[in-house]
C-alpha cells in the first residue's frame, strides 16, 4: 500500500519580522490511508506549521511533501487549491466558521466548492454531528462545542481522503472534547479517512493508532503516549 502522505526532510524557516526562527528541522513522515495520527508537542514546536504545509497553505523552505503520490511543490496554486477543495478537510482550534453564514451554509460551502451543492448531504452531515435542529443558526448563536461540530461536519461532508485537525478540542472542556473526538474518529473510520490531529490533550491518545511528538521542529514517532509530556 502506498502512503497517502509522505514527508521527506521537511524544513520551514520563518524570516519575517514577527517570527524569526526555524519551525521545522528535517521532518520525515509516512501516513497510510485510514491512519489516525495524534501529533503532540509544546506551543511553538512546529505542529501547526506541519499541518499548514501538508495542506499547501504555506510553502516549505526545503523538503518533499507528497499527497496521494503527488508532490505538492510541483503543483501550482490552482493545483493546491484543488487538493484542499477535494481531498483535504481542515478543522481548526478556533473553529473558523464564516460568521456571516448559518451552520447549514457553512457546511454547504464545502460542497459548493467541490461543485456538488447537495443539500441532503449537508443535512446528513449535520445530523451525524448531532446538530440537526440547529442548521439555521449563525456561529455566534452556537456554543463552542456546537461550533466545532459544524466545523467537523464541514470537513467530513465532502468525504475527503485526509482530515487535518489543529487542536480540535483545544478550545473545549474535557467532556465536550472527548465527545468531539469520538465523533470525528468514528466518522473517519466510517469513511476510511486519514486523520492527522494536533493535540495537547491526553484523551486524544485513546483515539489514535499512531503517536507523533514534535520538539523544536523535530518530529519523532512514539510507540505510545507514555513517553509524551502533556
Amino acid at each position: 500500500m502506498k502512503p497517502i502522505i509522505r514527508i521527506v526532510d521537511l524544513w520551514k524557516r520563518y524570516n519575517s519580522d514577527e517570527q524569526d526562527g526555524i519551525a521545522l528541522r528535517g521532518a520525515n513522515l509516512e501516513v497510510m490511508p485510514g491512519d489516525i495520527i495524534a501529533l503532540f508537542g509544546k506551543s511553538g514546536s512546529g505542529k501547526t506549521t506541519l499541518l499548514n504545509l501538508i495542506a499547501g497553505l504555506d510553502k516549505p523552505t526545503h523538503g518533499l511533501i507528497e499527497i496521494e503520490g503527488k508532490n505538492i511543490e510541483t503543483m501550482n496554486e490552482n493545483g493546491r487549491t484543488e487538493l484542499r477543495r477535494n481531498r483535504i478537510g481542515f478543522i481548526f482550534q478556533f473553529f473558523n466558521l464564516l460568521p456571516t453564514l448559518t451552520a447549514f451554509e457553512n457546511v454547504l460551502f464545502s460542497l459548493e466548492l467541490v461543485g456538488k451543492p447537495d443539500k441532503n448531504a449537508v443535512l446528513e452531515a449535520l445530523h451525524a454531528v448531532n446538530l440537526h435542529n440547529k442548521e439555521h443558526r449563525y456561529p455566534h448563536e452556537l456554543s463552542g462545542g456546537e461550533q466545532q461540530r459544524v466545523a467537523i461536519a464541514r470537513a467530513i461532508v465532502k468525504k475527503p481522503a485526509i482530515i487535518l485537525a489543529d487542536e480540535p478540542t483545544g478550545n473545549l472542556d474535557t467532556n465536550t472534547g472527548t465527545q468531539i473526538l469520538e465523533l470525528l474518529v468514528s466518522q473517519c473510520h466510517t469513511l476510511n479517512t486519514t486523520l492527522v490531529m494536533v493535540s495537547h490533550a491526553i484523551n486524544t491518545c485513546q483515539f489514535a493508532n499512531r503517536f507523533m511528538k514534535m520538539t523544536d521542529g523535530i518530529l519523532v514517532e512514539e510507540a505510545s503516549c507514555e513517553g509524551i509530556d502533556f
Partner: protein, 830 residues
Amino acid sequence: MKIVIKAFLRYLLRRRSLSILQLLGIACGVASVVGMTLSARSALSSFNEAVEFLRGKATHLIERPAGSMEEDVIAKIMHDPAVDFLAPTIDRRIRLTNEGDLIRVLGIDPFLDRSIRPEIARAVTSEEEGISRDAFFDFLLKDKSVFIDRNLANQLKISKGNALETSKGNLNIVGIFSNPSGEPLILMDIGHAQKLFDMSGNIDRIDLILNDETAFRLRWDAGFKIESNRQRRETLTALLGAFRLNLQALSLLALFVGVFLIYNTAMFTVVNRRRDAGIMRSLGASRREILWAFLSEILLFGVTGGAIGGLLGYLLSRFLTGLMGSTISSLYFFLNPSPLSWSWWNIAAGITLGCGASIFGGISPLIELIRTEPAKTIRGRTYFRMSPKTVKNVSLIGLGVITLSALLLIMSFLHVYVGFAGTFVFLLGVSLLTGWTLTICVPPMRRLFNLIGKTAGKIAAGNILLNMNRTSIAVAAFMIALSMSIGLGSLINSFRQSLIWWMNSQLRGDIYISTRGDVEVPLDFYEELKKIKGIGGIDIFRTLQTTYNNTPVYITSIDASVLQKYARFGWVKGGDENWEPVKTGSVIVSESFARRFNIKKGNTIYVKGINGPAPLSVAAIFYDYASEHGVIMMDRSTFIDLFNDHTINSLGIFVDPAQQDKQSIIEEVKRRAKNRGLPTSTQEQLHNRILSVFDNTFAVTTSMRIIAIIIAFFGIAGALMTLFVERQREFGIYRALGFSTKQIACITFLEGIGMGIISFIMSIGTGTALAFILIKVINLRSFNWTIFYHFSLNPYLVTFLTALFASIGACLYPLWKVYKTYPQMQIREE
C-alpha cells in the same frame, strides 16, 4: 460561487452602521467631484450660450479701438462690397435700481438685426412669439421702451406693462422674450438706447456678415478694430481662462480628496475581511473566487455609494452654480447660470467614479491578500501589524514621492497642470509619511493620555499605533483635508493682505466719483471740481478692455503727475521716479501683463490706436490685482493721442494734505456729485467694496474647504467604527478584566481625539507648505501675479477647532455603540 459572495455581502448587513458610514464616505467623495464638475460646466456653458446668443450669425464686428463709433460710418460700411449684412449695436450695462446688478442692454435695429440675430429680432417683431403689433410699435416709437428676458422678469417678479427701475430711471416693459443664455438681457431700440446712454450720433459697434474678410480689412483696418468670430470667441474664452483654471483646480482637489476617502473605505473593506478570506482559502476556495467576492463587495459599495453620490452631487451643483454665477458676476459680468438639468448620466458618472476609485483603493491590499499564503491570512488582523521596517520603507517611498513633487513644481513653468500634478503628488508623498509620524507622536501622546484616562488612555494611544494599517489611512485622509483648510485659508489670507497693501498703495484718493461701470463722469464736472480750493489733485481714470496679441487686456489712463504725488505704487523694480517717463508718453504695465507676454522694463509694445499700431515704451512694471489679464497704464494725454477717447470712468480726488478742513472739502465734492446724479465712495467705502467682491469670489473655494472637511470626517468616523467593530473580542476581554463602560468609552473617545490631534499636527507643516505651493506656484502660473505670504494664526486656529470638533463628532456614534453594546459583550471567537 454563490456562497462566497453571500458570505461577503451578508457582512455588510450585519455591520450596518459601518457599512452606512463607508457608503456615506464614498457618496460624499463622489458628490464633491460631481457637484464641482457639474457646476463648473453649468457656469461655463451659460457663458458660452450667452456669447453665441448675442453673436447670432455675425461673422465679424467692427468698432473703434476705444470708445464709441460715429453712426455715419454705418452708411459707408453698408455700401462696402464685402459686406452682405450688418447691424449697428449699442452694447452697454445698466444698473437695476441704485445698488442692484448690472444688466446688459442691447440697443438694436430690429429690421437690420433680422439678418444678423434673427432670434433676437424675431423676439421683438414676431407675432408668432406672442408679441403684439402694438408692443412692437411701442418698442420702436416710445422712449425707454424695452423687452426683457423671461428669466429676468421672473426673477424680478415683473411683467409686461410694469416699470423696470434702473439707475437711469424707469424703463417701460413692452414685452417679454425667451433668452436661452444665462446672461440677463434687456433689448431696446438703438435710437432710444442712444438717448438713454447720452450717445447721440454714436454707436458701440457694427456686427457684420462678410463675404471677403481680406478685402474688408484692407479698406477698414485703419482707425478701427475688426474682430472675427473666432477671435472674439477666443478673447471671451480667455477672459474666463483663469476662472476656468481655478474651477479645474478645485474639481481636481475634490477628486483627490474624494478618491482618497473612497480608497480609504475600499482598503478597510479588504483589510477587515482578511481572516475570512484565509478561512475560505484553507477550505479550498481559489484566489479567483476570493478576488471576485471582494470585487463584488467593493463594486456594490462603488455602485451604491456612487449612485447616491451622483444624486447628492447634482443637488450640490445647484448650490455651487449659484456661487459661481455670483463670482463671475463680481469679477467679469452679470451672469445668472441655470443649473444643468437632471440627467441619468449624473448617476452613471457617480457610479463610474465610485467603482473606479473603489477598485483603485482596494486593488493594492487585494493583490497583497491573494498573493499571501492562506496560513498567514487566516491569522487575520493580528498578523497585519505594520512592522517598523514597513513603516520605514513606506516613509522612504514618501520622501521619494515628495522629491518627485518638488521636481514637478520646479517644472511648472511648462504648464500650470504640471504644477497641479506636483501639488497632488506632494500631498500623496506626505500622506505616506503618516505611519512614521504616528510612531513619533504616539509615545508622548501615550504619556498625555495616561494623565487623562490612566490605563484606558494608555490603551487608546497604543491602539492608534497597533492598528496603524487602519489608523494611518484615516489620519492621512483627515490630514489632507485639514492641510487643504490651512493651505487655502493661508492663501486667502495672504491674498487679502496683499490686496489691502495694493489698495493702500494705489487707491489712496480721499473720495472717488463713480467707480461703477455703468456711469461715466462728464468732462465739465472734472473741470468744476478742479476749481474747488483745497483739492491737491484729481486722477482721471479711464479703463477699456482690448486685446494684445489676441489676448484680452485692459488699458487704463490716469493722471501720472497726480499719482506720482499721491499714490505709492508697488514697483517690481525702482521707485516713484518711474512716473517721469509716463508723463512723456511711456507706459507702465502690470506684473500679470509682463509675465503673460514676457515683457521687461525698456521693451516696446505695440497697441492699436485710432491711427494704427503705436509703439509704447515700457517704463516700469507694477504690482497689481485689478485684473489677472494684465493692465497697460498710461497718462491721459497719451491715451487721448492714441484713441481720441475723452470718456472718464471715474475720478480719484486727493485733498491737499496741508488743508485743515479735509472733511468739509469731501462733503462739498459729495454734494456736487449728488447734484449731478453721480455716485461717490470714500476711500474706506471703495476698499470695503473691493474686499467684499474678493470675499465673494472665494465663496466656492470656501465651500470646497467645508466639503473636504465633511469627507474627511467620514474617513475618521469610518476608521473609528472599524476599530470598534473589529475589537469586539478585545472589548470582551476588557470587560472580563473589569473595565467599566466609561473606561471603554474613554478609549474610543481618546482614540478619535488622538487621531484628530496627530492629523492636525501633520497638517500644520503640510498646510503651510501647501499654502506656499498655492501662492508661489499655482497662483503665479494661473494669474501671473505675486501674492505676498502673510502669516496669520487664524487658518491654524480654525483648522484646529475643526479637527477637534470633527474628531469629537466622529467619536459620537462609536461611543453610542459602546454604551449600547459593551455591557453585553462577551469573549467570543466569532
